[in-house]
Symmetry: C2
Subunit: 253 residues, 2 copies
């Protein structure tokens, strides 16, 4: 490839920006953002990184539920030769924008694009770090959003996770309109004998207005749970120690 | 708290160092390492960060399977007033050292310690970023190490994860001595009708000797799978696109 071809080639980078503090933004992610001609993303996540973007950067902040539009816009700009970052909070590969981006790009365009994905710290991990050590044994990560997934499949997965005594991490646990599945989840866990199991609820982990609560399955619905919350339900052996929840691995102590 | 008390207080920080490249080490993790009097960890992970540690740092590199000893040593030093980092590759909270550390510290000592946990990019995320977008729907993370977990429980969880059509991420998939469970896993997935399901195998992701393969369940055992490998098995809808695997979320395209 000669220099003129390099200078004309666009680049699409899918960037996970982590929990929302510069202290947990990977250097690779920061570098990609600093070099971008355009940064595209959901407004909330774009706002969390806006202060590090250069003045020359074309910033495109979208509303909710425009994942497909955002993905097409990012791919089109990169195919025109721009350096484009499409961003997501946490890790773009966990229930997030890396999916629709790869879905909308044709295989032919994919070969033309210089596509790379930079992983980020997803909220299962940031929440677990604030809660102690809940993810030391097998765990299932389940989204309670039924916008694109049948309710029956979500309930089935919750039941199987309970049967397998997995630690369970819930993404999108509830919204103003969606309040039933989190109740159903609590019911499934109680029926599986886990009413006293520790549950961690983390809102805006590692941001200024962070809120961390450790409660139990039977009490969890008495706490605020919304779209900005991650819920971590321990397995049958998870216990509390001080302000933390701990899932033992089985070491002889 | 007055200054003399501050100067005497130790600090224990549990640090996830990510995949093993400075480009994916969080600034918060780097800062904690730079300020540490002592850094303790499994040799492989200590070696990956040794170049950024100051000369004055007391470095304690341990062999395998000494998690409890490492944890006790770190806690003891911090209680003596040292600034201590105990490190793990990836995220210390996923099947790793955050567990034994919290298990061995008494509740009384825990209150004395200035304990914090810095999350890192675990191999499920770094592997997924290299594989495309496999984790866009519900997934289960399962360790195939039966050193501390009954084989029957691991097999049960694999079967339930297959029944629930979870994407499955395998940690510690095989070692020189442990080769049976990965075979059993392939068999469980084939019996669940997933022989053609894409499988990603990532070794040393984001390091110089990185190796990324996309294959299928029926072919996966023909590839090298060892303790340095992470295996990502798609769900029934996961497909290949170019060099990537994609799990669709269900958007109307």
């Amino acid at each position: 490839m000669n220099n003129s071809e390099i200078s004309e080639q666009g680049k699409l980078t899918i960037v996970g920006t982590g929990p929302g503090t510069d202290q947990l933004l990977a250097p690779a992610a920061k570098q990609a953002l600093l070099e971008a001609d355009s940064v595209i993303g959901y407004k909330t996540y774009v706002d969390l990184i806006r202060h590090i973007l250069p003045e020359s950067c074309d910033i495109q902040a979208y509303g909710m539920r425009q994942e497909v539009e955002r993905s097409r816009a990012a791919a089109a700009l990169a195919l025109e030769g721009k350096k484009v970052c499409i961003v997501s909070g946490g890790d773009a590969g966990v229930f997030s924008i890396a999916g629709p981006v790869l879905e909308v790009i044709s295989e032919e365009d994919l070969e033309k694009l210089n596509l790379s994905i930079i992983p980020g710290i997803t909220s299962a991990l940031s929440s677990a770090a604030l809660l102690g050590a809940p993810l030391i044994h097998d765990f299932a990560v389940i989204s309670l959003s039924d916008l694109l997934t049948p309710t029956e499949l979500i309930e089935k997965r919750l039941s199987l996770a309970a049967e397998g005594d997995f630690v369970v991490v819930l993404y999108n646990p509830a919204s103003k309109k969606r309040t039933e599945l989190i109740k159903k989840c609590a019911q499934i866990m109680i029926e599986a004998g886990r009413k006293d199991t520790p549950v961690g609820i983390v809102r805006h982990g590692f941001r200024a207005d962070q809120n961390v609560t450790v409660t139990t399955v039977s009490e969890m619905l008495n706490h605020d749970i919304d779209m900005n919350t991650t819920v971590v339900i321990g397995n049958s052996r998870t216990y509390r120690k001080g302000r933390f929840m701990v899932t033992p691995r089985g070491y002889a102590l």
